[in-house]
Symmetry: C2
Subunit: 419 residues, 2 copies
Amino acid sequence: MKAEIITIGDEILIGQIIDTNSGWIAKQLLRFEVDIVQMTSIPDTEEAISKTLKDASSRADLILITGGLGPTKDDVTKKTAAKYFETTLVRDENVLRHVTNIFESRKLQMLDINLQQADVLANCEVLFNDYGTAPGMLVNQGEKRFIFMPGVPFEMKFLMEKHVLPLLATQDPDLFICHETILVGGIGESYLAEKIKDIESELPPSIKLAYLPTLAFIRLRLSGKSRNKSDIMLQVALFKKKLIHRLQQYVVADYDTGIESHLIKELTHRGSTLTTAESCTGGSLAASITSVAGSSAVFLGGTIPYSNKLKHQLLNVNEETLAQYGAVSEQTAVEMASGSKAAFSSDYAIATTGIAGPGGGTAEKPVGTIWVAVAGKKEIITKKFQFDNDRLINIERTRMNALLLLWQLLLKEKEQEAQ
Amino acid sequence: MKAEIITIGDEILIGQIIDTNSGWIAKQLLRFEVDIVQMTSIPDTEEAISKTLKDASSRADLILITGGLGPTKDDVTKKTAAKYFETTLVRDENVLRHVTNIFESRKLQMLDINLQQADVLANCEVLFNDYGTAPGMLVNQGEKRFIFMPGVPFEMKFLMEKHVLPLLATQDPDLFICHETILVGGIGESYLAEKIKDIESELPPSIKLAYLPTLAFIRLRLSGKSRNKSDIMLQVALFKKKLIHRLQQYVVADYDTGIESHLIKELTHRGSTLTTAESCTGGSLAASITSVAGSSAVFLGGTIPYSNKLKHQLLNVNEETLAQYGAVSEQTAVEMASGSKAAFSSDYAIATTGIAGPGGGTAEKPVGTIWVAVAGKKEIITKKFQFDNDRLINIERTRMNALLLLWQLLLKEKEQEAQ
């Protein structure tokens, strides 16, 4: 089955918000035999909405639309859809009761425009929205299925999980699609490609290999597509095995995961604990670790000693070290990591210090100079980075490389233990 | 001028990465008289690329394409573009020298596929990529202009800033577009709409009003479009003034800004300092504050006392308080905020504690129970939230509401000082 995702909203087209709905929906559809052929973002205009609905239905069987269902005047999706499907809007009594209940339970006054939230396409199946006032709508037109959802991410997610995915689960199988992913770290994209080029050229047409690089890791994704499920699964598994065998020490994980989840899983498995001491990453390292459910089993906590005073106060970094080598130095990074490990009794500690920019650089230590230290069971490893001028990229690169460094230390310890 | 943005890459369509390039590009184009009519994400296939280039050029004058220029086999953009423009790929000597230099300076071995990075469309103007090996390409076809850029965000950004935006700056003015934005907090979308509905209905057809809600704030954006620049600017300014006058205490900022930047600006202006103490937000609050350049003038640092032991050790939260009321309680939140303010000598401190989920809930304190406390010059204000089951949404909602609470305390103090 082919699907398209349409996101409606001027705010996307002027870059005021990033469309994260499409990516989330796409990820869910992976589980089903659905192939997404296009994602389109368009403005809140009748013309764009009608044209895009038409184009999408010429390419896909399932059209998922988010946005433009709000109570305010700039939201025109519903009335445009009514015209497109040559139908009218009718007030749905059940939705009206639901909307009224929401307002009553929150002790809020009901406004006229809130009543309009209960208006739905006359020919649709209403998809109840337990989390908000705008209901979803499902419209079948010939062989094509259109599903309208609100653009608010958690309302959309609820509707997808409650109503849309169960529908897809029961559809007739058409083509079988399977994906296998390997997380690779510590090697550049072209080196990786060179290393596996003979395996890549052996791939049959039914299997595609994609390189998905981030700032410090690359996900290698094998995608197989066939009407013969067991055969394609076997072939994809075989090529995955070949890649893992070839890449050995660069393979961080042999399944589709983020580095944060993988590290939490590894540390949980070992019964080890972790703390962080972040200067230049400003909390983003800890935030990415704690975004993983269950991280509290491993992560005791962290500090963000932005000022030198706090580096000393929180982590016992020597004032002479700061005076002699500066806050951005290997010595300070080492003392931050060992100080964090000692003060909070963790098994591992990651420390970051650097000049994220755009200000604060000097001739000796230009913007983008970063030190990362990771303290482990027996030793502390460090690495210096020289990045560029973009503050957010420098922070993100440091964060990812700090996680890579922790993984490399864990690997080293594992190898030493095995000897 | 009308523009479209096309992002190419299977990884987007299966939701493995979120397309942030389109939003960034859109934001830059706002400064020019460019109207983005569509954003499209398509897979790495010749068919999709050719069809989308054709469709986009039927709607827009400027087509910006990112992705698929990498050295690996899954990247087919260049050869598809050569077919589309009925031209060939030629090896560019300057680009080749640049690529070779990059490899030499990094002391890396040059691979065959890296040589192909220097292949460009024969009829294009090469846009040099100082930050990477894949050059950008500009192709003029009749009245239409196509610009191909790599998908790696910081390479694309460099090419946009160095080559593309300067081109746009020199184009003939066609239609003048202006935007004015107000950041509003502490009021729901439908209440806001009700409060300003008479102003909204007075708007002329040349001015559009959009509501851009996040989890705790709404940006109200007025967009004017006219051939008469001074007239439309005046009218937009007039309606902005009306909205600000009507919304008074809900107006956080009268310009297009994020709450983090605005708070940093306010605190810098007052010469005040800030610390954070984050349990349930796990560092994301500090990360969002420190993502703002110049935040170190205000932000001394923060702590992430995930365990109870660290709440006591870092912030001096009373062990009896933790035992009697629990880590997720108003009392603990208050002691975290006052402890952070006292221990690190800051003027303000924000504390968050809660059960982000999905685990850890009890009958008395279900998942989504959150306490936020903000310590100010004279008093500590607190607020309890009862959110739902989604960990990441709970973290993000808490983060935004914590910033809103700090803003509300600053406003209260300002009013008290004025009396």
